[in-house]
Each structure stands twice: as C-alpha cells, then as structure tokens.
Symmetry: C2
Subunit: 98 residues, 2 copies
Amino acid sequence: MNLIEQLNKSFDNRIRLGIMSVLMVNDKIDFITLKHMLQLTDGNLASHISALEKAEYIKVHKHFVGKKPQTTYSPTAAGKKAFNEHLDALEKLIKRSK
Amino acid sequence: MNLIEQLNKSFDNRIRLGIMSVLMVNDKIDFITLKHMLQLTDGNLASHISALEKAEYIKVHKHFVGKKPQTTYSPTAAGKKAFNEHLDALEKLIKRSK
C-alpha cells in the first residue's frame, strides 16, 4: 500500500494530532486542562474534539463535580488503534525522508 | 514552545507530507513520476504542489526534452529545513504518545 493511504485523514490536522497525543498518555482529561496543555482557544479545541468524536475516536463524558458540570474526554479503543497505526505510518515516512 | 506550534501547518495535509518526503530523497522529479509514486490524480497533485510552491518550499522547472515540455520539481533549501524541523516535531510527538 502507498505511504499516503496509510496516513489517516482524521489526524492530518496538527491540533488533532496534539489532542490524540495527550489522550494516549492521559486516559481521561477535562476540557480546561486539555486546552491549557495544547494552548488552544475554546472554539478551536471544541471543533477538533467534535470531529474526533464524530469519527468515534474519542468519548465525551459529562458529569457533575458538586454542582459544577464537568466534561472529560477519553480515547476509544478504535481511536487508540487508529492513532497508533497513524504514528507507525508517520515513522515510516520519517525514515524514508532521511 | 508548545508541541502543536512546532508542527508546520503547510505540512498538515498527508499529500504534502508525501510530496516533501519524495523530494527529500529525489532532488529532482517530474510530474508524472511523482504522480505515480504517490498514486494521485493530476488535479490533486497539482493543487498541493502549487501550495508548496507558494510557501517557497519547492521550485518548479519547466524545460523541453526534444520538442516535449517537461516540468520537474525540487525542494528549496528553506523547504528542506522546514520539512526536517516538521519531522523532528513529529518524532517528538510520536515519542510522547507511546
């Protein structure tokens, strides 16, 4: 298979790469923490989270901490698999380019 | 600096990653060969080449082979530098995700 086809279009965007990268090592993370880690605006983070949720690569959990609503995000099994495959394809591309 | 900012937006798209990857190891390549290597349509390849040319990451050479016009592409020094920095940032992201 061709190198480009092995790369997952859902992860083309560098913000989505950043979100998935954080979720691979933090299995559950809230919106504010994620936003600060990636230094993004609310709107920018929300739109890319929504794209990854639509692809079923991340799960959104809404719950209450006391009376305060909190939203956390986790990667799905399919999301972890797809992201690992994407990273493998990127590694191949890096090797071929050097 | 934040991980996402180290990634170059010009290389977000996987087709552009593929084009630059090929140019890093083939310093001069013609349109048809590049198209076949990446298994792309004419339009798809042309639009991404044009974006990379606009960013001054690749140079376009038009010349004649006998009476036949031929177009070849080469990476610029700035293109090689920017792509190598992008690959370094991707490597960091891969390491952090595993």
